[in-house]
Amino acid sequence: MVQRIFNMASAPQDSALQLPALPRTETAVNGSRASRIEEDVVALFDRFRSPLFRYLLAFRVGAPDAEEIVQEVFLALFRHLREGKSRVNLQGWIFRVGHNLALKRRLRAQRETAAPAEASADWSPGPETQAAEQQRYRRLQAVFRALPEQDQCCLSLRAEGLRYREIADVLGVSLGTVANSMERSLARLNRADRCGEGSWETSRRTYVAK
């Protein structure tokens, strides 16, 4: 079921992520080629704007800045494709560029204001949500925000459908670091999720002892 849930949220490697190569001859570099690239970029925008935006928000980028970063990413993608560069794994490319732009923007904001940008909104459950569920979500939110930033990034990217190798590429870390991060983060979330029913560790010890 873990796999099913992540797969539901994920974008599998398909033709939209790995676009067919365009001819690079002199005559091919014309209006129609640019127009085709433009269509590709808009199609990728339609597909990845929301996942990238959510990732940036999780990275504590405010919504107006996130909107600007998304624009920058897809303009950069247009340049990337127009220069005939690799069309392999564009999903990973989009998140990597978005992540780097967010880092740059944060550094600039820190220099200017001496305070990091902070995402503004808290999750506010609807009236239909059960009280116990609300409490659970608040616990998850608190645990998520207490995680080291790299762990938050790994979880967010995984929830947006990236594989471990892609996450490692986006964050510039090793595959082992991603695996460690996932293990650590899920263990903490699991403990929080089980809070009230007895911790996961306790339940595991019980099961294993039998």
């Binding site: 079921m1 873990v2 796999q3 849930i5 992540f6 949220a9 209006g31 080629r33 640019a34 690239i37 433009e38 970029v41 808009v42 925008f45 339609d46 704007r49 929301s50 935006f53 959510r54 928000l57 999780a58 919504a63 107006p64 909107e67 998304v70 624009q71 897809f74 303009l75 247009f78 340049r79 909104a121 999750w123 506010s124 459950p125 609807g126 009236p127 659970r136 979500y137 998850l140 939110q141 979880l155 967010s156 995984r158 929830a159 594989r163 471990y164 695996a179 996932m182 293990e183 899920l186 263990a187 979330l189 699991n190 999720d193 996961w200 339940s203 595991r204 099961y207 294993v208 039998k210």
Partner: protein, 250 residues
């Protein structure tokens, strides 16, 4: 598996679930899970945690996503401007950049307006902290909110726009609104007025609903006046969510 422990590690379970194990190791993990109930239970717990996390991630962050139409139009316009360098010759060569420039300009105006509107969801505390007068509950509750409504003088409206650096405001785009409504003891003062946009989700009409609700609650004794004043002045959106039991405007 753990040393001296026949059971699978968390890492094994997570990597197997994410399809990140080498095929041979994955087969061993699957075989173990088929026979081991405790490990299956732990796997189910992890699955449940991930499901909760994904639901939270999407619910929390998805609710903050602005509509895509404007940004999409802006992107298309900018792409067209860049593509124009490779546009066909002739009169189209001149037309395409002009059209693209116009599109960028209009999309830019849209983004700027949206951004400014979002900036004005709540007033600047330094300019509009809220200001009240000494008043009794019986006086406040003598008239309804709509009966008590009155127009802000033009000179004061002008001053409010100046304070917020708005020089090109369309008359119908904003309501120069009281942060603390007069029906809750607010006064006609630059410190209690700000240009509240109509175009945002959390707009002037939504705040009007909150003002009516708080007025009714104060008059029925369910909320004391000081609390109502403080809540509407410090976080009117939070107060709306609290008193209407909703995350979004009704």
């Amino acid at each position: 598996m753990l040393p001296n422990d026949p059971h699978l590690t968390d890492r094994d379970l997570i990597l197997a679930a994410d399809g990140e194990l080498a095929p041979r190791r994955e087969a061993a993990v699957r075989a173990h899970l088929e026979t081991c109930w405790p490990c299956r239970v732990r796997e189910a717990e992890l699955q449940s945690t991930i499901a909760e996390y994904v639901r939270w991630h999407r619910g929390n962050l998805g609710a903050q996503l602005p509509p895509a139409a404007g940004p999409r139009a802006l992107l298309k316009a900018q792409l067209e401007a860049r593509a124009a360098s490779a546009a066909p010759a002739g009169w189209l060569r001149a037309l395409v950049p002009m059209t693209a420039a116009l599109l960028i300009l209009s999309a830019g105006v849209w983004v700027a307006q949206t951004r400014r509107s979002n900036d004005l969801l709540v007033p600047k505390n330094s300019v509009t902290p809220g200001e009240t007068r000494a008043v009794t509950i019986s006086n406040l509750c003598r008239e309804s909110v709509s009966e008590g409504a009155r127009a802000v003088p033009v000179s004061l409206r002008k001053k409010v726009f100046e304070e917020y650096g708005i020089t090109d405001a369309r008359p119908n785009a904003y309501e120069v609104d009281y942060l603390i409504t007069p029906e809750l003891g607010g006064v006609d003062s630059i410190r209690n007025l700000w240009p509240q946009p109509y175009s945002t989700v959390w707009n002037a009409h939504v705040k009007d609903m909150l003002e009516e609700r708080l007025h009714a609650l104060v008059c029925s004794g369910q909320v004391d006046l000081a609390t109502a004043q403080r809540e509407i002045a410090t976080d009117w959106i939070g107060a709306y969510k609290k008193y209407f039991h909703t995350a979004r405007p009704l």
